[in-house]
Subunit: 320 residues, 2 copies
């Protein structure tokens, strides 16, 4: 394996891409990148094509960090300029990425990625080297994911301070529909319903409304690219939420009671806090084992993380 | 007017009542109180009846700080032990309080109140003297609200570091349904829908889910008392949210687009931030003016606040 200390080429230098570049540099990696907007940093190449040419020369790991609608065009450039490079991405959905790579660059050694970190501000200036510290970072772990691509993507995540969550693209997309895309949609609904109450209502808004609408400070284009790109799983999550909200409405109208809704919400929040406060039981996984990916996916399903890698040995940690 | 520096008697010493007691003491007010649970503080009388007897002796302002379901019983004790005292409350709905006071203590000199501050933790230990600093604190401003009761309630709010929002009970209840009770219900729906995604989903949850479900850390009993006590206005708000979420669902299923939902949410969030960042234009209101309450209500409707009082002169501030 030669992936260790491979240079990192980041295409797209918004909040996430810009933070990946800084975080990888912090870990001592050689980094460079490009974006379709001017970025005031000496590590930025003049064009995407120039960055990819350099990636090909230096055998860099190429990281796609553009919004989903721009992925196809960037993949076309990768196929032209750096077709043999190891490839990963930090885009918020994974099945559409796998499909796009299969379409544009079927020979790619590719493992998808998704760091679960963000803030409402966007763009290069909002990024920071510590954005991913301690955060989960999904690395797609399909049956046919090339091992060298998986290692390179996982190594990048760990170098950036994150913990790797191995799972399939399908499971990832279903999960983020529930814990990322649905929260954005509910925040939009909440913000608009509150603002309909006029200045008095907004003037009275305290923590519950402020927190519940915070992500609506994000640029709409970014939210739309993320949510619309995960249409099927998001529809399932919205239907689930509509069912629960409708049931609460019916119960409030008929008996006046909301106990089952509120108690379920409370239990769920405690489950989140319990998972975060749980101890961790570490164990090694041998990447050369033919069952390694299955073990890794089971780790992800159970809420576990990969904490570090040492050669062929991956150290996983399960909540305990 | 003799309300200045009147002692404050707080009945109910949970997060809010306990914070009112500490904040009023910080302002130099004489304070005491009682609760139906043991509270380790020397300012606490052994029983509610004893506290109310003392309130009657010292002509204190009595502050009801118990959950809505307990209000009737406390009002019964007030009627028995301190019927002539000025009365306010810090309960999260206002029309049901007006009705309860009219039923139990029709002669009361009463002005309802509601500080818009909180945190997920509850109980005496979670309270603090600075909980209300800069927060809006509604003082119900009905046609028939006694002026001395209004002044006493507003003075308490200002002494506690809050800013007074004058409005009617009806407008208050409609507003808080949208910016406090609906956020709790949506947080419950979001938490449960996320947890249905299992440990993988909870493990991936980042800021949007964490923030959107934070208030579900609150004890369910408190959320239920608050939401169920505002049934009619909350039904209107839930119907509005259901309509918006259903429209988003329909649009996502048919065209794949969520632009109108997300853009409306973004605009609403910007309206909130604009209101908070707006300058303030101060002007005086003479409480002895027969139109004073109408002016005060207009101030509240426009998102304004009362910043201080000096004798009969109230200083209002409009967003500018």
């Amino acid at each position: 394996m030669t992936s260790v200390r491979r240079p990192v080429c980041v295409i797209g230098l918004g909040l996430i891409g810009g933070s990946v570049l800084r975080a990888a540099a912090r870990a001592g990696r050689e980094v460079f990148g490009a974006a379709d907007v001017a970025v005031p940093d000496q590590r930025v190449e003049p064009t995407v094509a120039a960055a990819l040419d350099r990636a090909a020369r230096e055998d860099a790991l190429v990281v796609l960090a553009v919004p989903l609608p721009a992925v196809d065009e960037v993949l076309r450039l990768v196929a032209e300029h750096a077709p043999a490079c190891l490839l990963t991405d930090v885009v918020s959905v994974k099945e559409p990425l796998i499909e796009a790579v299969a379409r544009r660059l079927p020979s790619a050694r590719y493992a998808g990625g998704h760091p679960m970190a963000g803030r409402s501000a966007s763009g290069w200036a909002a990024g920071s080297a510590d954005l991913f510290d301690g955060a989960p970072w999904v690395v797609a772990t399909e049956e046919d994911t090339p091992r060298d691509a998986w290692r390179a993507a996982a190594e990048l995540a760990l170098d950036c301070g994150a913990q790797v969550v191995p799972t399939t693209a399908r499971e990832h997309d279903a999960a983020v529909a529930r814990i990322s895309h649905l929260p954005h949609l509910l925040a939009a609904v909440l913000a608009a319903t509150g603002a309909d109450g006029g200045s008095l209502a907004l003037s009275l808004a305290a923590g519950s409304f402020t927190d519940g609408t915070r992500v609506m400070g994000t640029r709409p284009e970014l939210v739309l690219a993320m949510c619309e790109g995960n249409r099927g799983p998001l529809l399932d999550a919205v239907d689930d939420a509509l069912g629960r909200l409708g049931a609460a409405r019916g119960s409030l109208a008929s008996t006046g009671g909301l106990a089952s809704t509120v108690r379920a919400g409370h239990e769920a929040r405690l489950a989140l806090e319990d998972l975060r406060n749980a101890g961790r039981e570490e164990f090694p996984i041998d990447l050369s084992d033919p069952e390694a990916f299955e073990t890794l996916r089971d780790l992800g399903t159970a809420g576990g993380r990969v904490l570090r890698m040492d050669g062929d040995t991956v150290i996983g940690a399960l909540p305990a």
